[in-house]
């Protein structure tokens, strides 16, 4: 009889099976994930959750009998039936259930529901998305160092004991100090044994005995392994280059931006943040809001406080340029910027905006996305035809001139995911700007 405690065994034994299952059902799960994420609040978009996929894609078929033919059922709990009684067939066929169920999985079920973890959910959701240019790496303070082998040391933990090196030292020391080998001692003993009892060799035996005594003493004095032989493998911390990113959120907060529009923008920023976090170890966020002047603010102020004033987009870009120059040298940081606006800009500022963007901002950025938020059904209002906004026209011209800029219009929450996916779809980021 044995009692074993298995609770401490590493968990996640079935993880490989799960991964195989997810891979197998990938297209189905991915679809389900997208459906699920479209329905849920974006703030919880990065949580795992239950998804449901159609069963047919992951069925394990086996031979079993269909309906029809003659069947027997033996059932318990007879109340009033007598032999020969006839009973109307219960609706739905089954014939009283029992004895003949088909698939063990329950053939009637048409959806398979299970729970995805946050990681799985996101990796499926972001699976075919790609961050453009995430190449810049540099050494950051406080990042986890990587440990590299660096020779041997005389102290260390037993786990790092280097046996070959220790034994080598031991061997050379034993040779240098002439520690008798076991064979030599044995040879002496054998010789003594051979000569013993023969009076003619008595003297020789005495000599040999003395020699043996000396050898044994020496063996005892010179240890086989001495503490000075012991060597440990040494490791040295080497700072690891880390890819780090900073994300600039630029937003127009002038009176024309409603709470709804801000909410749309916020959703987009959240997605971008999640996405960046998955690819970079360090992601910092800078919030810059602007009316006719721009300032860097914290998140709370950014989304919730109201400002009045005109609209000068160039001020935000100017502010961003300053922050970049101050704190985020483009050589060390991967810079991502997302601008949200309703498209208004003061007449005459467009030129300045375009110049700033092309000359300083875009060269420093890995990626620059412009999201134009609007009210739902806006383009449908009769008598109020809205052509492209000022900002849109400005940016479109830039894109047509080949600037690496992505732009999209969003009017409703449900469009956020598709737009995001389109902006970051693998390959061809900038082509997405034509909508």
């Amino acid at each position: 009889m044995q009692i074993l405690d298995r609770r401490l065994n590493p968990s996640g034994k079935s993880l490989p099976n799960r991964q195989r299952f997810l891979r197998r059902a990938k297209s189905l799960v991915q679809e389900a994930v997208r459906d699920a994420s479209a329905k849920r609040d974006i703030r919880s978009a990065d949580e795992g959750g239950e998804v449901s996929i159609p069963l047919h894609g992951i069925r394990e078929p086996s031979f079993h009998l269909g309906s029809g033919g003659i069947r027997d059922h033996v059932l318990p709990g007879n109340k009033e039936y007598r032999e020969g009684d006839e009973i109307a067939r219960p609706p739905g066929g089954g014939g009283g259930g029992g004895g003949s169920e088909g698939a063990p999985d329950g053939g009637g079920e048409d959806a398979f529901r299970f729970v995805l973890s946050r990681e799985e959910f996101l990796s499926l959701f972001l699976d075919d998305l790609e961050l453009p240019d995430m190449a810049k790496r540099r050494l950051v303070d406080g990042a986890d160092p990587a440990w590299h082998r660096a020779g041997y040391s005389v102290s260390g933990s037993p786990a790092n004991l280097s046996l070959p090196r220790t034994m080598r030292n031991s061997l050379s020391r034993r040779i240098a100090l002439r520690r008798p080998k076991p064979e030599e001692v044995q040879a002496l003993e054998e010789e003594i044994a051979a000569l013993e009892g023969k009076p003619e060799h008595a003297e020789r035996v005495l000599e040999l005995r003395a020699e043996l005594e000396r050898q044994l003493l020496r063996t005892r004095r010179i240890p086989y392994i001495d503490p000075i032989d012991v060597r440990y493998r040494r490791f040295e911390p080497v700072p690891k280059p880390v890819a780090q990113a900073v994300m600039f959120c630029l937003m127009d907060v002038s009176g024309s931006m409603t709470e709804d529009m801000k909410d749309l923008a916020k959703r987009f920023y959240t997605l971008l943040y999640i996405f960046l976090q998955r690819r970079y170890k360090h992601v910092e966020i800078v919030f810059i809001r602007h009316t006719h002047e721009a300032s860097e603010v914290d998140e709370e102020t950014f989304f919730h406080s109201r400002e009045t004033g005109g609209t000068l987009v160039s001020t935000a870009l100017e502010e961003m340029r300053k922050v970049v120059a101050d704190r985020y040298p483009p050589s060390e940081w991967n810079i991502y910027a997302a601008q949200a606006s309703d498209g208004d800009n003061a007449a005459g500022d467009s030129q300045k905006t375009a110049r700033l963007l092309v000359d300083t901002i875009l060269p420093a950025c890995q990626y620059y996305a412009y999201i134009e938020v609007g009210r739902e059904g806006e383009h449908g209002i009769p008598g109020f035809p809205r052509g492209p906004t000022d900002l849109w026209r400005t940016y479109e011209a830039l894109v047509n001139a080949g600037a690496p800029l992505a732009m999209k219009k969003v009017r409703h929450r449900r469009e956020i995911f598709p737009v995001f996916r389109e902006l970051f779809a693998k390959r061809g980021v900038t082509e997405g700007a034509s909508a």
């Binding site: 099976n17 269909g66 009973i87």
Partner: protein, 512 residues
């Protein structure tokens, strides 16, 4: 009964908490009763304490502790997990593995009383059954199973490394679809699971020299009159008809690589290992339930578990053996625990205080006084089907109020064919026994021929019983898997065994 004072120190444990010493004491107490009073004979026990997640793990791989990797286990895990998390389903208190030593997994969440129940149930009841039942003795190798699973897992993994996960997955998918048809029902080769590894190497060498009739390119003799004899010879060579489809494919599928054959073999051996379980589910649970009932009652009588604990035992026990009536919404077939336990208790009753009827029906043991030899004999020599045929008494049929319904889809109504009365007992018993006979409940599908002269089409036959045809959609899916292993066309004929007429045919070509 004289009043026994029950000093506190007799108790094995108090309250719900337990530790390893408690488990040890419980085990030893159970062992004493199981050995001295019930005369059970078991493999050495190994009790492993596991967490809920590990229990889910074990669920997913059908209770085996180590298994090769396959997506379907991940699927089952996800399914169980979702149900468990929502609280729709509790977890089993234990899982027991037919191995030597016999491994019982017990959950850490169980109370001390539940642990006592589980140990008596699994570590002695199931364990005794595994060790003594003829089916298990004949078909499974308790000593070798853990080693074999280890080998299987390693082999599949090395195949994945060599041939890629996808290729291995395809073979496993197909093999799993045919798993129920990977069982030898009649013949029995001496089990030799320990030397599988060596055998696998030898197979590869052997294959190179093997003569496979399928590849024979010698011109056929023109003589027509011998066609009959020719067919006989071919069938004999391919060992046809063959009901073990996986075995047939492993030996004769023309285009499988050696590693694919080996995987088929692994799946087949696992299926074979589970084959007795399916046939003895009811008895096995009955044996274990009866054992825990006897042991715990005795421990209570001896004052070694408290009255409160006994109430907890009775509560679990009675919910386990609950059998809802057929018209109850909770009804989902015969509860194997209920029927098994009822039969064991009934046998005890017949041995101790038989009625005249019992004496007439069971002359050889009615009134013999000691039920244990009768039960031990029953547990050793029977399977569910034959056990019911042999031991189900009229008294029990009346008690359960069993009745037999004949459901003929050609008739507009169901008919009550037999019930618990003098005229019906024997027919009722036969009908119930049949429900536990896989030969009766599983469709009988065999490989009957291979068209060697033509396009190597594989021909299978489903011998239709009582006009019950296969479920068509699913049958086609399975046949597709079969065809992908066979690599040529496959034809499944559903025939009426009486007239030989073909009722339906399914033809499937291998995926290109």
């Amino acid at each position: 009964m004289n009043i026994v004072t029950r000093p506190k120190d007799l108790l094995l444990y108090e309250g719900a908490d337990w530790n390893f010493d408690t488990l040890m004491r419980i085990h030893d107490a159970c062992e004493e009763v199981a050995g001295r009073e019930l005369g059970l004979d078991w493999y050495p026990n190994r009790i492993e304490v596991i967490s809920a997640e590990q229990m889910l793990d074990a669920y997913a791989s059908t209770g085996l502790p180590l298994f090769y990797r396959h997506w379907s286990f991940g699927k089952h895990f996800a399914q169980h997990e979702a149900l468990y998390r929502k609280g729709l389903r509790g977890l089993a208190y234990e899982i027991v593995i037919n191995s030597d030593p016999c491994v019982s997994y017990v959950m850490e969440e169980n109370t001390a009383t539940m642990q006592a129940l589980v140990i008596a149930h699994a570590a002695f009841g199931h364990n005794h059954f595994f060790k003594n039942n003829e089916l298990f003795r004949q078909w499974t190798d308790a000593k070798g199973i853990l080693d074999y699973l280890e080998f299987g897992r390693g082999y599949v993994q090395s195949c994945e490394e060599q041939h890629g996960e996808m290729a291995v997955e395809r073979v496993l998918d197909s093999a799993h679809a045919l798993m129920n048809y990977g069982v030898h029902r009649h013949r029995r080769r001496a089990p030799d699971l320990m030397s599988e590894q060596k055998r696998e190497r030898e197979r590869r060498e052997h294959d190179e020299q093997m003569f496979n009739v399928l590849w024979s390119t010698l011109p056929e003799k023109a003589a027509q009159p011998t066609a009959r004899g020719e067919e006989e010879r071919r069938r004999a060579l391919l060992q046809l008809p063959q009901e073990n489809l996986l075995y047939f494919l492993e030996k004769s599928a023309p285009r499988l690589a050696p590693w694919q054959r080996e995987i088929l073999r692994i799946v087949r051996n696992v299926a074979q290992y589970f084959y007795p379980q399916r046939q003895t589910k009811m008895m096995n649970e009955g044996c274990a339930t009866y054992t825990h009932h006897r042991i715990l009652n005795r421990l209570h009588q001896q004052g070694r578990i408290s009255d409160g604990a006994m109430l907890e035992v009775l509560h679990s026990h009675s919910s386990v053996i609950m059998q809802p009536d057929f018209d109850d919404p909770r009804y989902s077939g015969m509860n194997p625990y209920a029927l098994g336990f009822a039969m064991m208790e009934d046998i005890e009753r017949i041995c101790r205080e038989p009625t005249e009827e019992d004496r007439a029906w069971f002359p050889d043991f009615a009134g013999c006084g000691d039920p244990m030899p009768v039960l031990r004999h029953g547990w050793a020599e029977f399977r569910d089907e034959s056990f019911i045929l042999q031991f189900l008494s009229p008294a029990l049929m009346r008690k359960l109020r069993l009745f037999h319904i004949l459901d003929d889809s050609a008739q507009p109504v169901l008919r009550v064919d037999a019930m618990h009365d003098e005229r019906g007992y024997r027919r009722l018993r036969r009908a119930l026994a049949r429900q536990y006979d896989p030969a009766w409940t599983d469709p009988d599908i065999q490989v009957v021929d291979v068209d060697l002269g033509g396009d190597r089409k594989l021909i299978l036959e489903h011998r239709v019983v009582h006009g019950r045809l296969l479920e068509e959609q699913e049958a086609r899916q399975v046949l597709r898997h079969l065809a992908s292993l066979w690599s040529y066309d496959v034809l499944l004929r559903e025939v009426d065994p009486a007239s030989g007429a073909s009722l339906r045919e399914h033809a499937v070509s291998p995926p290109r």
